[in-house]
């Protein structure tokens, strides 16, 4: 039931899901161990892409295009998130160098 026919071959949908899970976990590890705020944004983009792959896979497996619609909206939201996140970073970098996200603690009470 989870077969996806491509040409005259059958691939199992779980392959795509496992790949997406791996990408998501690698992105999570990146967020946890990297210190550079820009690289953390890159890792968030990686995790969003992994989720998109899951959406498109299930869309294909169910042969229902709603999953692709949600993938499209998640791409839009990711683009907006990148614009705002990078805008904040550039604004901070105008004043000083930031080597570590832990230095950004002005909002702490």
């Amino acid at each position: 039931m989870s077969d996806i026919t491509i040409g005259n071959e059958h691939l199992d949908a779980s392959w795509f899901l496992i790949l997406a899970a791996l990408l998501f976990i690698i992105g999570a590890i990146g967020i946890l161990i990297r210190r550079n705020p820009l690289v953390i944004l890159v890792c968030i983009e990686l995790m969003l892409n992994a989720v998109n792959l899951t959406l498109v896979t299930f869309s294909r497996q169910l042969q229902n295009s709603e999953g692709q619609l949600f993938a499209l909206m998640s791409i839009t939201v990711a683009a907006a998130e990148a614009v705002v996140g990078l805008g904040i970073l550039v604004d901070i970098f105008k004043d000083r160098e930031v080597e570590d996200v832990d230095e950004l603690s002005e909002l702490r009470g």
């Binding site: 990408l23 976990i25 690698i26 820009l38 990686l46 294909r60 295009s65 080597e99 832990d102």
Partner: protein
């Protein structure tokens, strides 16, 4: 052939993702992300999502990545030092990510696939027409809200990049 293409694309994805985490220079991480996104776009094509494939290449690998590269060019190279605030951070990260990976694996093991929906025509599946139909009928409100979100993001980015406020 399809299996071969999947394996090559998956290998590119995993290698690029590991590169993002391990490269010390931010610019190499960003270029690894470009590799991941291009490999993912070929997977989208395999899953007959032609429109998502085009959007992925244009919006992600094109626009968003150029934005990242511009910011790196603005900020200049930043050398990353090991954290001084949190000791054993690598160990803690491995523990947290390991338990998270266990959670995801348990969820994958429990996936029950449903039979495909009836009435779908595979020849037009994933085309601009079928996506636009959903976008302008059932999901019109979310679509309008995302356009509003883009407007807010654009105005916010312009406001933040002003010299004096």
């Amino acid at each position: 052939m399809a299996t071969f293409i999947f394996l090559v694309a998956a290998a590119f994805c995993i290698a690029g993702a590991i590169g993002i985490v391990l490269f010390r220079d931010a610019i190499r991480s960003v270029l690894s992300l470009v590799a991941v996104m291009l490999a993912l776009s070929s997977l989208y094509l395999m899953l007959s999502a032609q429109f998502i494939f085009a959007v992925q290449v244009i919006v992600y690998s094109g626009a968003v990545m150029v934005l990242f590269l511009f910011v790196i060019a603005l900020m200049g190279p930043v050398r990353e030092q090991p954290s001084t605030r949190l000791r054993f951070q690598g160990l803690l990260a491995v523990i947290v990510a390991g338990s998270f990976a266990g959670l995801v694996v348990a969820m994958l093991g429990g996936v029950r696939y449903r039979a495909p929906d009836k009435g779908a025509v595979l020849s037009t599946f994933g085309s601009v027409e079928s996506i636009a139909y959903g976008l302008f009928t059932t999901y019109l409100y979310p679509f309008e809200l995302t356009s509003l979100l883009l407007l807010v993001a654009a105005v916010g980015a312009i406001y933040m990049s002003r010299r004096e406020r």
